[in-house]
Amino acid sequence: MGTVCSRRDIDFLLHEVLDVTSLVGRERYAMHDRVAFDAAIDLAFRLAEERLQPHASLADADEPHVVDGRVVQIAETGAALEALREAGFFAATVDEEQGGMQLPFVIGQACAAFFKGANVSTTGYLLLTRAAANLLEAHGTPDQKQRYMLAMNAGRFFGTMCLSEPDVGSSLADIRTRAMPRGDGTYAIRGNKMWISGGEHELSETIVHLVLAKLPDAPPGARGISLFIVPRHRLDGDGNPGEDNNVVLAGLNHKMGYRGITNCLLNFGESGETIGELVGEPHRGLAYMFHMMNEARIGVGLGATMLGYGGYLASLAYARERRQGRPLDGRDPHAPPIAIVEHPDVRRMLLQQKAYVEGGLALGLWCGLLVDEQKTAPEASARDHARRLLDILTPIAKAWPSEFCLEANKLAIQVLGGAGYTRDFRVERLYRDNRLNPIHEGTNGIQALDLLGRKAVMEEGACFDALGAEITAMTGQARDAGLDKEAQAVECAWDATSAAREATVQRMAQQGLAAALANATTFLHGFGHVVVTALWLRQAVVASRALPSASDGDADFYHGKVQAMRYMVRHELHLARAWLQATLTGDATVLETAAEWL
């Protein structure tokens, strides 16, 4: 089973539901086969369990700290990253030509998901490096790729993303970091960056910071931001780290969770000159960052899912062992106490967790596959369809698991009772680690505005309709499989979602954005619940088709799938309708609340 994820569930989703092996029919992935995909997944699973999980709680208890200006952290973190590097995970999805394995995005995401579930902090160093390298792959010059990206693909240099500042988080248009041309094509960078994950450490030869800053002639707002490569050390003629580039660690933040990775306040250009190189064209930096955003947000959502998944598995194992109380219908004080999993309320908490975490995984992996579709589908129309789906799904791919798989973590603690509130069990750490996910990579509030204010209405609703077509297909298949009632419930909920969207379009025109978007977050919750329930239908269709010929053990697995689908339909879908209601009716309770009344 493992502590991170059910291997059976991953195989079910990747192969029985999503049929990822069909990707080997695409030229880009023709060198692979199912055996290679499975071997990659196996390898990731083992590294997660054997190299990452074992030091997760140690890294939490003994967080990185500064001694004589240098970051000190437990040796296991570096050793685990070295194991990931040796195993090839710094370049799993990278082109073969650039030293990678050219694995599909969805397989790379599944592997990374195990790592995050096992130890989200240590994995952070790997994923930030991947994010930085991918950005250079898309927008760097051949020379920049040669010097920085290849070294990151090889795991020699690690990367960071420096967007936020002490005074600027959600509203990046207001950043203050400046870049002055030095006359030789390079730039002098000056400013402070806050919250920078992996911003300083001794784990790699050097650190490649990707920094958002403004040029002197920058137009105001989001269209005046440029992107720079700022290495921790200037590279010498051979591409090796040399002189210090005056990126100074001004302090480490002390976090609630996610504590095994440094989180830094960095000063650029204060103690001496910090030299940076422009990436792509001036003033296009934010666009370049957003270009990568879909993929980054899917990754954050999968991470949130996996932290929830780990809590589910831990609480399930505990509930099967822990004995307490007697059955409601047989209160014989002489009888031995029963395992708590026998109590209906404990089963409720486990089923709810299962519905959220396995639902989140289905959503994340589907989005992962859509990224591959968008990149490699032979027909332009299929690529465009995938792009539209990704546009509309990305806000929930990030925000829904961050919200509801965190809820799952809360339930996991509850299943353990008092034990869950102690540091002797990992469920409390998983909760703290997961609490970051609604905050970073665009807060969930920002995701809600993006979903309702932009994605749901853009292209005259084409993205929304593309998803509608998918949902109709899913409910149609559910009807064919005899799940009529459940299919109908999802169709009704989708109709309510469409009606709420229509009402928003009207309200935008008539009353303005504030009135139209006042309930965006509850819309996001409702929308996410409907989509995840539709994906549960899709899982249940596969499961109910497989059931008649399934062996005993496998039948339990498939019954579990069908039952979790029923739980979503019967116990959660009505919440979605209630959440959508506020947007449908234009409820103004929140809008009309004056700040002074609070």
Binding site: M1, A36, L43, M101, S551
Partner: protein
């Protein structure tokens, strides 16, 4: 020096094994399968011999259904040079496996065959010994240390009473125990390269071995559930219970 390493596809060591309702065997439907962990250690040792310049070629062999190819791919990804797959659906008994291996040995003429000491599915612990018997070769079983110098091998065996050192002459059969080494992870690049390595296919008939089962499984059942423990108040009570209830003293 040529080294042969037989590897078996077995139920993954992480999987909680379930007995089929009709007690005819273990439920394998959609269950994760992997290389027998002892065989991984055997592959690792063979690959190390090659890396040290002692071995010149490492050949992995597996007998079993189509999917045993995956197990061979793992061996190739760990560093074996090529593989032989004897395709066979259904049970294979240790003696049949040993006979087929003996035939392959006569064709490939290796100097060393390195096997896991047992497979974690049936725990039979017979194949290596049977093979040594069939070939008339020396055998070092349950080894936790290996040294090869010239034509001489010295091994440390893990036996009930402790450790035993044995010297052997080549060619020889070795079966490996848990502490011999820690197998490497097959890296992603090596997983990809393994696809290009050769896997030769054979059948039991090609090797002239009859696979008609000689053993019949009557029934497979879960081990009896452990009874809850009891607390005793005194040593005297403990002795009394051990004597009168458990009947062990």
């Amino acid at each position: 020096m040529k080294v042969l390493v037989p590897v078996k596809r077995v139920i993954d060591y992480n999987v909680k094994v379930r007995v089929k309702a009709d007690q005819s065997g273990v439920d394998l439907a959609n269950v994760k399968m992997s290389m027998n962990p002892f065989d991984e250690i055997a592959v690792e040792e063979a690959v190390r011999l090659k890396e040290a310049g002692t071995a010149t070629e490492v050949i992995a062999i597996s007998m079993g259904p189509e999917q045993s190819q995956e197990t061979l791919r793992t061996a190739l990804a760990m560093g074996a040079d090529r593989a032989i797959h004897v395709v066979h659906d259904g049970e294979l008994e240790p003696l049949m496996v040993a006979k087929m291996l003996a035939k392959i040995v006569s064709e490939e003429t290796p100097d060393l065959v390195v096997l896991g000491k047992q497979a974690i599915d049936d725990d039979a612990n017979q194949t290596g010994q049977l093979l040594a018997g069939l070939l008339g070769w020396g055998q070092g079983t349950f080894i936790s240390k290996l040294k090869i110098e010239g034509g001489a091998i010295s091994v440390t065996r893990e036996v009930d009473g402790g450790l035993e050192k044995v010297g052997l002459k080549l060619p020889a059969i070795l079966t490996v125990d848990l502490r011999l080494n820690e197998p490497r992870y097959a890296s992603l690049p090596n997983i990809m390269k393994a696809r290009k390595k050769e896997i030769a296919k054979k059948t039991p008939a090609d090797l002239g071995v009859d696979t008609t089962p000689r053993l019949k499984t009557l029934k497979v059942a879960e081990p009896p559930k452990r009874q809850g423990g009891k607390k005793v108040g005194s040593i005297a009570e403990l002795v009394d219970k051990l004597h009168n209830e458990a009947g062990v003293i």
